[in-house]
Point group: C2
Chain length 230, copies 2
DNA sequence: TAGATTGTTAATCGATTAACAATC
DNA sequence: TAGATTGTTAATCGATTAACAATC
């Protein structure tokens, strides 16, 4: 059958230690997001000493359909055992490798205000292998003061320090009126990804990715459904 | 033509001050989210004294298709003038009414840790008409201390105070191991919506809405595309 | 009126789910 | 082997976009 053939290809790919699809950038963001959720669920299961898990187990944990779990995984290869399910440890390792969270990822923080400070101490990033290596702020009174174990530099030093930091992701949490200017500087300094907490759309070159975390919009969307419920 | 007929219906609905669709809960969340983005963009345009805006102007501002702008609005009625566009002020007011952000919305905060504290001072909520009226924490040392102009109560008082607060939305920012228990208490106390910053899925009754803001997953999704780019 | 843009329909595109042969 | 679950295809569902008559 045809998919037997695919399987052979996939196994061969496995042996070469690489089963990424032809173009990993073509994977729908929704799929990547769920992959990260599977990975986290599998970590939990591993802590509970679960050895095996089925696609419907995983689906139930996330509140989705089991076919979706299998289809998402199928983008990257074959990780399960028909009639059995998946080995928790094995699948988790595969997902970490695919998501590239098997090695630490360095990020810098730009804007050490209320939200920025909170993000420094937010445990979730560290737990997933994201290391905040440096922070920058325009307020000289904040410079030097280490929040957590992180040194804060003045924003004037951004260009000079970014390369040293080794980061290619920036968390942006600056006032709205300077966010585009700051994004421009970050891009020039070699940053390729921005997690933007500022409620403004950023214009960046094609090769730079921006993800928006827009707290007010989330709140408004939630609010709409509540207030129209009854 | 048929849609002339619709228009008449719509106008009649307008006159009665109500042009919500038959079942407002059936509107896709993606549409509601964009409506909130349109509303914000229109506020900006109003500040710049723009009087008119076309669907393609708005689309360009958000980086989407102009047909989508028109279709999103069409769920709720007809707000434009063919051959002209939309009056900024008029459309903004209509959207605020639809989103029900023309009146303040009260929210409580549960968990005054690093992230919780930052959310108190986060200006974005206030600006959009969300008022944090109370906060709760399990640490008695935090109780009483007002952060911003917000009193912090001990979590034991949750049930007693929620009703008094008049809120039906809670922002949840507690440690992961207590988040389900806390969600249960919130629901019993009469909360109908939860903006959940804890990286855990919550089990709640049908009539309660949960929105997830999962910072690590956003970061991982961003990271995936970067590290697979070149 | 001529030019511009709406509101709507139909076409397209993409994502989710159902079903099942293949497999362990 | 019998029972269970995978990986895949096809069907369904939903969301986005193109096109254009209606309108100002």
């Amino acid at each position: 059958m045809e998919y037997r053939l695919h399987r052979l290809y996939s196994l061969r790919a496995d042996e070469s230690g690489d089963d990424l699809p032809d173009d990993p950038t073509r994977i729908p963001p929704a799929v990547v997001r769920r992959l990260a959720l599977y990975s986290r669920a599998l970590s939990d299961l591993e802590l509970q000493n679960q050895e095996k898990v089925s696609s419907s187990d995983l689906a139930d944990l996330l509140g989705i359909n089991s076919a979706q779990v299998r289809k998402d995984l199928a983008y990257f290869g074959q990780f399960g055992v028909p009639g059995f399910g998946y080995y928790v440890k094995d699948l988790r390792e595969n997902l970490k490798r695919i998501l590239r969270t098997d090695t630490d990822v360095k990020v810098i923080l730009v804007g050490v205000g209320n939200l920025g400070s909170a993000l420094v101490s937010y445990g979730g990033f560290n737990r997933q292998g994201f290391r905040m290596t440096m922070a920058f702020d325009a307020d000289r009174r904040k410079v030097g003061a280490a929040r957590g174990d992180l040194a804060i530099h003045h924003i004037d030093e951004l260009e000079a320090k970014v390369h040293e930091s080794g980061a290619d992701i920036a968390v942006l949490a600056v006032p709205a009126d300077v966010c585009q200017a700051m994004a421009d500087r970050l891009v020039k300094a070699g940053i390729h990804g921005i997690l933007n907490f500022v409620p403004r759309r950023l214009n960046v070159p094609e090769n730079v990715k921006v993800h928006y975390v827009d707290l007010s919009i989330e709140m408004e969307t939630l609010s709409y459904y509540l207030r129209n419920q009854d």
